[in-house]
């Protein structure tokens, strides 16, 4: 793969498209989430701004842009401002190897999933910095929770993906999609149900969403690591959260739900439909379940998910050896 001007232009266009996708996704998801929350709670949700409240998210983001950024006394200035930026920008990179459609991959790389897993760790770094730098005890507690949660759940997440990687024999995301068929029973969901379940649980924990939203546990730590953030700082954290959700949903769609393949007419729409179904699932459980406690959260990981994912990996390896 040679580096040419065309190649750079392609990457540049891809990055711009990804930024547009992330911002657009955040706006859509804020609306969907609030509307879904409203409907689940039997109230209309956003209603007044625009038809059916569709402009609510845009107006909210305008408000956040215009808000004063408040810096607490004794906060660490550099880190305080660096943290939201660090939360947002690495996610850009993570979208590069995702195959949205058959030919719609920003950067076709043989080890795409390695890239994603390697840079996914940046998110928690920003949480840690944000909580630490804001000189707030809630923030520090939230940051500490974020780190141990993220580190713990990365392991079963990787192990669950590894089983699929064994099966497909490749680290390239497009090839993983190609290894699956068009019909739902040909997807990895069917032959790797346990891995799918483990991945589903871990992705909720990795994105700090309820019922695993301990770093920002509202009723305990007010807002956890972003307690002191207002205006754009908060907006960037928010954006990063939704971008992370979108990313793990795309990875989920790619690995387990057949990616861009569908019963009729393969294409990027299938990826989007599947990813947004996963997103809806995340939203749905957020408004259904109470939050787990921190030691329970770690127990679920170390006592259940980790052994199960190891078992799954082991069985997969044996089966592959026997069959292949």
């Amino acid at each position: 793969m040679e580096l040419s001007l065309l190649y750079f232009v392609k990457i540049l266009v891809a990055v711009l498209a990804i930024i547009a996708l992330m911002v657009g996704n955040a706006i859509v998801m804020v609306y969907v989430e609030r509307k879904a929350a409203g409907f689940i709670q039997r109230r209309p949700g956003p209603y007044e701004v625009g038809p059916w409240g569709t402009l609510q998210a845009i107006v909210d983001s305008m408000k956040l842009l215009a808000k004063q950024i408040f810096v607490p006394a004794n906060a660490d200035y550099i880190l305080f401002f660096l943290a939201p930026i660090l939360a947002f920008f690495p996610v850009l990179l993570l979208f590069l190897p995702i195959p949205f459609g058959p030919y719609l991959t920003s950067w076709e790389t043989p080890d795409g999933i390695i890239l994603i897993l390697a840079f996914a760790g940046f998110g928690v770094l920003s949480n840690l910095l944000g909580g630490w730098a804001s000189n707030n005890k809630y923030g520090v507690l939230g940051a500490a929770r974020a780190v141990s949660q993220s580190i713990a759940y990365e392991i079963p997440l990787i192990l669950a993906l590894l089983a699929v990687i064994y099966q497909a024999g490749t680290l390239n995301l497009s090839e993983i999609v190609e290894a699956q068929g068009s019909w739902p029973w040909q997807w990895n969901l069917v032959c790797q149900p346990l891995a799918f379940f483990i991945y589903l649980v871990s992705l909720v924990a990795e994105t700090n969403r309820a019922p695993f939203d301990l770093p920002e546990a509202e009723s305990e730590l007010t807002a956890g690591f972003h307690t002191e953030y207002s205006g754009m700082g908060f907006a960037l954290f928010f954006l990063a959260e939704y971008a992370n959700m979108l990313l793990v949903s795309f990875v989920c769609a790619t690995f387990f739900l057949g990616g861009y393949k569908g019963p009729i007419l393969d294409g990027f729409w299938w990826t989007f439909i599947k990813a947004y179904l996963v997103m809806f699932f995340i939203v749905w459980i957020r408004w259904t379940f109470p939050r787990v406690r921190f030691d329970q959260l770690l127990n679920i990981n170390w006592k259940w998910l980790l052994p199960l994912s190891l078992l799954n990996l082991w069985v997969t390896a044996i089966v592959i050896k026997v069959i292949g």
């Binding site: 709670q41 006394a73 200035y77 520090v140 009723s219």
Partner: protein, 402 residues
Amino acid sequence: MASSNFNFINPFTFLNVQDSPGTYVGDFYTDNFEKGARAGNVILNLGPQHPSTHGVLRVLVELFGEYVLRSEPVLGYLHRMQEKMGEVKTPYQYLPNMGRVDYLNPIAWNWAFAGAVERLAGLEVPEKAEWLRVVSAELNRISSHLLWWGAFVMDLGGVTPILYAFEEREKINDILQIVTGSRLTYNYFRFGGVGQDADGRFVDLIKDFVPYMRERLKMYKALVTENIIFRRRLEGIGPMGEDICRRYGATGPIMRAAGVMCDTRRLYPYGIYDRFDYDIPTGPTDDCMGRYLVRLEEIKESLRILEQAVRDIPGGPHIVAKAPKPAYKLPAGESYFTVEGARGQVACHIISDGGKTPYRIKLRAPGFSNLSLFAEAAKGTLLADAIAILGSLDLVIPEVDR
């Protein structure tokens, strides 16, 4: 410190501050609390503005990691000196204050004060008024428990159930509005009766409400009570046995969850409670789950009382013929009247010297005693558990602070 210029600081300042007490200038209570703290432990102010302290309670906690070593509630952020107000107003004028002491369970407070005055003055209450009192008190108990249920689940991170609880609460508000005219701070009782008689719609709505509520309780059970996350969060958390309850004076569902059948309705029957057939639920366990289950059972028992009440409605006037006027003077003497509120024993102690206004009014708030137990129950638990214990005490801060 205004941060107009950039100040680059040592990132370890945070720890250093903790190592040398006195660097942070806390207020009176923080300093007082800090004296007992071990160096290196974090002292955290939960509140007065905190999502799960329900109003303006402030709890100082000393944390080691996430473990609560010590805690001390700091009250007084909503103190309104209700007892002093009672000494400057005539009893009749003081009655509306009772709705404001505990805004979630005003009927019990109405009853406590009206009962104490009636006891002192020797006023008889007509049968119809007693019926209306019982019905409104039970409806109010259900609505108070419903709001607690929602808020408690919200403390544990489940945001949705509180809005389901509000659906039922709105129905109860509709019913109580027929007789009281208001939806929150009811001022319904009068000395020697109640303010307004009920009409047919009142009874019809109650008849509709009882089966509806039973159906909803099934949904509550499936959605929350049997949820594994919820159960794991509550089972075995914050045990409060009979001994600790007695030492701290905790009453109501907390004491009943500890297995003591303490209920003023049974022990000192007031109103026409002795006519109805109902059970006093006592908890299977004395932990948060036990307290939760006791309260849900109490909703069922209140529904049973309502069901029996609408079957047999007495006639007659809703207030005595010569009801006390606003300038009514209490006879000299003392009286003590207790009522079973949603949170425990509500009591009113009146001393009168025969003057225009009462000589002294003491309001016994159940939440006050229940909260004093928190410091001991939360010792050594995780922060999240401490929040769950705080929620399970069912606090209403205006009532605690009075």
